[in-house]
């Protein structure tokens, strides 16, 4: 089930992760890892446990059991703040303060890090320089996402958590976000990406973990996952990750109904 990880520098790792909300098991024994310089895509429907997993990996949520290591360190120690200096995140549901301007928002986030880029550098990086004095409430969806990325990149992180980074964006906006992520990776950064979009996972992720009901049902490169499909099932067109996903999660659902 796990594939592609080797002796390379593993910077995010969880083993046997279990997370419960009362009697509900949100994550049910998950093994994951992200190597330096790689992008791991977490694919799955709502309720699969992706957001919960990411919150645990970001050190925001304590698991019921299992081990989590980021840059070789566990969370919930006095070294947490040091770990956070190397991490950036763009979380889908975050709504940045409406009444602050783009530059003021970035400046605020920059102040949390002991070192990083200047506001001007980051504005240039995400191409929001012309909007530096615009209030956040006036930004388009694509501009808001670029601002979220700006706040994530301002501390020059080594690891980025991206939660549904292009949901609800038009194709041009999606492309601009993808380019930024690819540039970050090209600079040696590592990414943990959650997404609904198969094309996004196929484009950005070096490996994909498909989550279903709190478990990882497959973890491999997009190409290997697609190649692992039975060829008789796809006769009309070239197989894609969509087919992988439907096959893996559909089979799971049918099994439960028959049980």
């Amino acid at each position: 089930m796990t594939g592609g990880t080797d002796a390379r520098d593993v910077i995010v790792e969880c083993r046997g992760l279990v997370v419960r909300y009362g009697s509900l098991v949100a994550v049910d024994g998950l093994d994951l890892s992200v190597c330096r310089g790689e992008c791991l895509g977490l694919l799955g429907p709502n309720g699969a446990g992706k957001t919960t997993t990411v919150e645990v990996l970001e050190g925001l949520l304590r698991p019921a059991s299992g081990t989590v290591r980021v840059f070789g360190q566990p969370w919930w120690t006095s070294a947490d703040r040091k770990l956070r200096e190397s991490i950036g995140a763009a979380l889908q549901e975050t709504r940045l303060p409406d009444k602050l301007t783009v530059a003021e928002t970035i400046r605020l986030f920059r102040s949390f890090y002991p070192s990083g880029r200047t506001v001007d550098q980051v504005l240039d990086l995400v191409d929001l320089d012309e909007k530096r004095n615009a209030r956040n409430s006036t930004l388009s969806g694509g501009q808001r996402q670029r601002l979220a990325l700006a706040c994530a990149l301002v501390g020059t992180p080594e690891l980025l958590f991206l939660d549904e980074p292009t949901t609800g964006l038009d194709p041009a906006a999606r492309q601009s976000i993808w380019r930024l992520v690819e540039e970050f990776k090209a600079d040696g950064g590592s990414v943990l990406l959650t997404t609904h979009y198969m094309d996004e996972a196929a484009r950005l992720a070096d490996r994909v973990a498909i989550m279903h009901q709190g478990r990882s049902v497959a973890q491999d490169t997009p190409a290997n996952l697609v190649a692992g499909l039975d060829s008789e099932e796809v006769v009309v067109r070239k197989a894609t990750l969509d087919d992988v996903f439907v096959k893996l999660t559909g089979r799971g659902l049918r099994d439960e109904h028959e049980a």
């Binding site: 995140a89 303060p97 009444k99 605020l108 102040s111 070192s115 501390g155």
Partner: protein
């Protein structure tokens, strides 16, 4: 990473957090009205309505027996002199609750707290920045109301201005504690509003902002004096109306400090960041 870290000057996060808080408030016209304009309108309305004292109020016999002024035994203290410190107390309480508490809950609802929690931001700095921003506004709020009272109603500040400042400052600290506590867990602005009204309403009635709480049965006086608004009203009135020295209200100052520090420390422990 090929991009070199910058060496440009970056201000302390507490300074930046406070600055962000101040900017958000100043850009909110509704908040400006409630904090500055509303208390003055209230003072004008009540000052005019009670310009002859509450003795002229219908049905007054039951609440102000003849010869006993509802503001105490000092005849030189008019109702408006009694009222303005009480309005300052109410104003500071309201702006702490709504300005701090509501804003924190809204930030949680917007998943902004969760976003901040992923950064190396010091969480104590975040909560402190709300209190510091409140203190900045406090200076303006209290000064505005006092000046208004002096110019429009001839209010006389018999105590020292530094002493009045200390009481106003402690009052802000005192209300910050309950405000942070109310805002510490919920992400629903409706639930938070309910709790804030629940916390403030008893003090609106009992703490002596509009009339002397001595009129309540004596058995409840010790409890009433433990409320933060009562402590602020009592000490502020003592200074403004009677020229008392600060140390004469030591127990009230202690009550305010306890609410503030105790509330802040407890809130820091139970505060939900996501």
């Amino acid at each position: 990473m090929s991009t070199k870290p910058s060496t440009a000057i970056v201000r302390h996060p507490l300074v930046e957090l406070t600055r962000a808080r101040l900017l958000e408030f100043l850009r909110d016209p509704g908040a400006f009205f409630w904090v500055f304009v509303f208390p003055m309108l209230l003072a004008v309305a009540l000052g005019i309505a009670f310009r002859d004292g509450p003795q002229t109020m219908p049905g007054c016999q039951t609440i102000c027996p003849p010869g006993v002024s509802p503001v105490g035994s000092d005849p030189s203290v008019r109702y408006i002199d009694f009222l303005i410190p009480g309005l300052i107390g109410l104003n500071v309480m309201g702006s702490c609750m709504w300005g701090m508490g509501y804003n924190l809950v809204d930030s949680r609802r917007r998943k902004l707290l969760k976003r901040f929690a992923v950064t190396p931001m010091n969480r104590t700095h975040y909560l402190l920045s709300h209190m510091v921003a409140r203190l900045v506004f406090l200076v303006l709020e209290v000064a505005a109301l006092l000046l208004f009272g002096m110019l429009v109603f001839g209010l006389e500040i018999r105590g020292s201005v530094p002493a009045v400042s200390v009481v106003a400052l402690l009052g802000t600290v005192a209300f910050s504690g309950p405000a942070l506590l109310v805002a510490s867990r919920t992400e629903s602005t409706e639930v938070a509003s309910g709790w804030m009204n629940f916390v403030q309403l008893p003090m609106w009635v009992l703490s002596g902002s509009f009339f002397d709480y001595q009129r309540f049965p004596e058995v409840v006086h010790p409890l009433v004096r433990l409320l933060p608004l009562t402590a602020m009203n009592d000490s502020l009135r003592g200074l403004v109306n009677h020229g008392d020295p600060l140390w004469a209200h030591g127990s009230a100052l202690l009550v305010m400090a306890a609410w503030g520090i105790g509330g802040f420390l407890l809130a820091l422990r139970i505060f939900k960041w996501q």
